[in-house]
Every structure is written in C-alpha cells, then in structure tokens.
Amino acid sequence: MTLSRETVINLVLALALLIVPVVASQMGQPFTVTLATRIAVLALAATGLNIALGLGGLVSFGHAAFFGIGGYAAGILASHVFSGEPMPFGFEGSNQMPVIWIFAVMACGLAGLAIGAISLRTSGVYFIMITLAFAQMIYYFAVSWPAYGGEDGLSILVRNQFPGINTMLPLSFFLLSYGVLIVCIGLFALLRNARFGTALQAARQNEVRVASVGISPYGIRLTAFVLSAMMTGLAGALYADLNKFVSPSMLSWHMSGELIVLIILGGTGRLFGPVAGAMLYVIFEFALGGITERWQFFLGLILLGVVLFARGGLIGLLAGKARHG
C-alpha cells in the first residue's frame, strides 16, 4: 500500500516534533525542549478547536474559555494541595495530572454543553459573537474573583505529577505532552472517518442535505462542540503546568484568536494542520520576537498571504487539496 503525500508530511511533522527536543535535550538546551512542549500543547488545543471549526465549520471565537477553564482546573486543584485548605465536599484538591485532567475535561464538557446549547441556535457572525461573549464573561469573572489570584493569576509552585514520570524534567514533560497530543490526533482521525464525522462534515458542507436524510444537524454539532471543548480544556491543563502559572489571559479573546490563527496557518480541518500551525507560530514568535517586539505584524502578513494564496494552509500547500472518501 502506498502512503498519500499528506500522510508522509504528517509523519515527517510528527517525527520532527519528537526528534528535535530529544536531540536538544542531549545537547543541553532545555529551552528548545520548552519551545517544543509549547508547540505540542498549543497544537493539542487547536486540534480540539479543529473538531468544531475544521470538521463542523463552527467558527468558535470563544475557545479560550475552555483553554482557561482547563488551566484553572490545574491551578485550583494544585493550590488546595499546597495550602491544605479543603475544597467544597471535603475534596482535598490534587497534584496528580490524571485527576486534574479528568476534572479539566469534565468541567469543559459541561461548559461546552451550556455554551454550545445556546450558541448553536445561531449561525454565522452571530455564532462567532455569542461564543466570544461567553468567553469574555468567564474572563471577567476570573479577573474579579479574588480567591484564586484574580487579575494576577495563580502560580503552580511545583509542577503537578504523573505516575511513573518525573514531570520536573523538561524532556519528560515534553514526552508526556507529546503522547497526549498524538493520542488526541488519533481520536480526531477516528472521529473524522466515523459515522459521526461523516454527519458533522456533511452538515458543514450542506445543512439542508443532512436534515433531508433525517439527521438533525443541531445534535451532531452540539456533540462536536462539547468534544472540541473537552480536548481544548485538556490542553489548557497542560499549558498551566508548562508555565507553572495560570492567569485570566488564558481566557482572553486574544487566546481564542490565536487558536484560530494556528488552524488557518496549518490547514483548516487537516489532521496535522494544528501541528503545522503551532510549529510555524511558535518558531515565528521565537525567531522574530527576538528581533522585534512587533513580530505579530509580520505574522499578520503571513496570515494574509495564507488566506489570499494558500487557503489550505501549510498542509494544503504541501499536500494539495483535502481528499475525502
């Protein structure tokens, strides 16, 4: 069996993201490992958004809400372990990542269900605006809630733990994040090719067609939105642990925009679009950010180029048009 061009490119990207930090770690360059971890975590967040945006065509401008809720789940649970103050229901908090991830994913699932149930009654520009509004509500709530640092944010004094792995070592934490990313990309691939993905993508292409075969687009989209929120929330928890800090900026509309930019740069709806986009974005941020504070101006030019001349993003440019079964 021959591999398609896109599959080859995906393998190259996956291997590059794995090998570069491993080599860098051997050469004693932990900062490169941190950059790679940042790429992996942002790619994970964008892969989550890619379910809603790429497959479902749902342009959520509020995914920072889920990214931030995931981050705060990590920060809040860890802070209670550190302070010794019990949480409601006598729960002691946790500094174990598996526990934190479950909380983050559940919280984002519930938030996604509530936000999605209301937002998906609209479409187009209204959908964009209403998701933005929900995310901003949560942002301002976090800013004005003094219990967990308010505007100043919340530090995670010691990075949370994962059984059998020393998360304090940059390479170990990278490998953990990378593993989660690959598993989630695998889930995305399964979802996309399954019956659910068929209905979701068909609803993006032609809502009337989906309704006419007897499938209600609303239920399909709401499920996609919830799954999307959960995955982005998981990335938020990892992001908080990467920076050992969580603040309202994770919830702000800049973050929502950044996630959309990652997907457009890499290729909307493409399996490795978020990875390619996150690589471009972080490398740009690092390389240009060293030269000028206004690196986002140049990022804007690139984004303009992609939107005008390479609608399929980086993956589309390299692998050609998306092929469906």
Partner: protein
C-alpha cells in the same frame, strides 16, 4: 376499503404579506401513482414543496403523511418518517464522493450517527448498500468522484440514489428533468416509471413530455390554487387549464 392516501394536504394556506402563495390547496398522493404538479412560473409550486418538506410553515391547513399529522414537524423528523425528496437545485455534500453522499443516507436510515470510532469507509454493510443504490441509478462507475465534480445530470441521479437509500415511503421530486439533455431525460423517465411501484411520486416538472408520459394524475397550480386535477386526458381537455397554462402546447 380503499387505502388512505400516503400524503394528504388539506386546505393549505401560506401567505407572504398580501400574496397568497398557497391558497387553500387540497391534494393527495396515493400508493403506486405518479402525481404530477404543474403550473406556470410563480404559481407557488416551490412554496408548496417547502411546506411539505418542512422548510416553511403553512399558516393554516393540515399535512398528513403515512397516517400522521406532520404539519408542525421539523425537516429531519419528516425525512425519518420516509419523505424522500430531490431538490430543484441539487443539494449534496460537494466535497464528499458520490458514494459517501449515499452512505450518509444509509447511515441515517440504518441507525445512529453517534458512532465515533469505526471508519465508514471500512464498513462493508454501509458501502454495499450505498453501491447498490448507485448501481440502480447508473452511477456505480462514478462512485468515487466528489459530488462537486459530477455533471448536472449525475447530481440529479445521485439525489435520487439518496432518496432510494432512505427507503422512502413517498418521493417528492422537484424538477428532476431540469437541465438534462434529451437522452438523460428519456433514461430518467424510464427509471421513474418503474420507481412508482416502490413508492408513489409527487412530481413537480416543467418537461411536459415527461409529465404526460409518466403521470397517473396531474394537478394544475395557478396563483396558489389548484384549478384542476385529473388524468392526462382530463387535463389536456380542460379549457381552464388550456387558457391558463398549456397554451398551444396541447
């Protein structure tokens, strides 16, 4: 006892401001028949179709389908009851192949779309049923072509394959011949002729040769009202119809 018609519209009214687009339409579709709905442009045929499918709500009147009042149901609910339709302008998932378009209908009919893991392109049952439908409409060779790249006529065939895959109890075909060449029209006419035994067809069509060749009954819609219903011969002879619509054609 005679079977009750599968589809019954009673005193249907739909107004847009001062315009009565549907003005007290009563119409039925019986088992095994092709009932053609004809009328000049602007007569309200599309509005009527929209109300039957559920994309527009009637102001008053009832729509019964397969023994149930469907007048307040949504589009997808009506489709699940077995109302299969094709569109005046083809409506497909353009990026999907012809086969995956049909498979969407097969999966909708044969159970839940909330299955998250098994790849559809390795689901033999889905593929086989999809291919069988494509074969019936003569599109099997084009199964892997994206719908967007199919010819106009092929898209029409694909829509019919989708309606077939839904196991519809009635077909609502909105100008299936539109834009087809003479050869294609002839082939489709032959196909529809056999299809009526599977489920009755409400056929909206401008191609009078096809209508006269196929229809068991014809209803003529003018300014939102049915001015005549009858066999091909009745309609050909009806003076009001000749004046309003057929002109010198008959």
């Amino acid at each position: 006892m005679v079977d009750r018609p599968i589809l019954e519209l009673t005193d249907l009214v739909k107004t847009f401001g001062a315009l009565r687009a549907t003005d007290g339409v009563t119409l039925d579709l019986r088992a095994g028949e092709i009932h053609a709905l004809i009328g000049p442009n602007g007569a309200g045929k599309s509005t009527l179709i929209h109300q039957i499918c559920g994309t527009q709500q009637q102001d008053s009147g009832t729509i019964r389908f397969a023994g149930r009042d469907i007048g307040r149901m949504g589009v997808s609910e009506r489709a699940r009851l077995g109302l299969g339709r094709t569109f005046q302008v083809s409506s497909l998932a353009p990026e999907f192949s012809a086969l995956r378009n049909v498979m969407l209908a097969v999966q909708a009919k044969g159970g839940s779309s909330f299955r998250f893991f098994r790849p559809v392109m390795r689901d033999r049952a889905l593929i086989d049923q999809g291919m069988a439908m494509l074969e019936r409409v003569g599109l099997a060779q084009r199964a892997n072509i994206p719908a967007a790249e199919l010819s106009h006529g092929e898209r029409r065939q694909l829509e019919i394959a989708i309606a077939l895959a839904l196991g519809s109890k009635a077909f609502l075909l909105d100008e299936p011949m539109a834009g087809m060449g003479p050869e294609g029209s002839k082939r489709l006419t032959g196909f529809l002729d056999g299809l009526r035994h599977e489920a009755p067809i409400l056929l909206v069509e401008h191609d009078m040769d096809a209508v006269f060749a196929l229809a068991d009954r014809i209803s003529v819609l003018v300014y939102g009202r049915i001015i005549a219903t009858g066999t091909v011969e009745d309609i050909r002879r009806d003076p009001a119809v000749r004046a309003a619509y057929l002109g010198d054609h008959a």
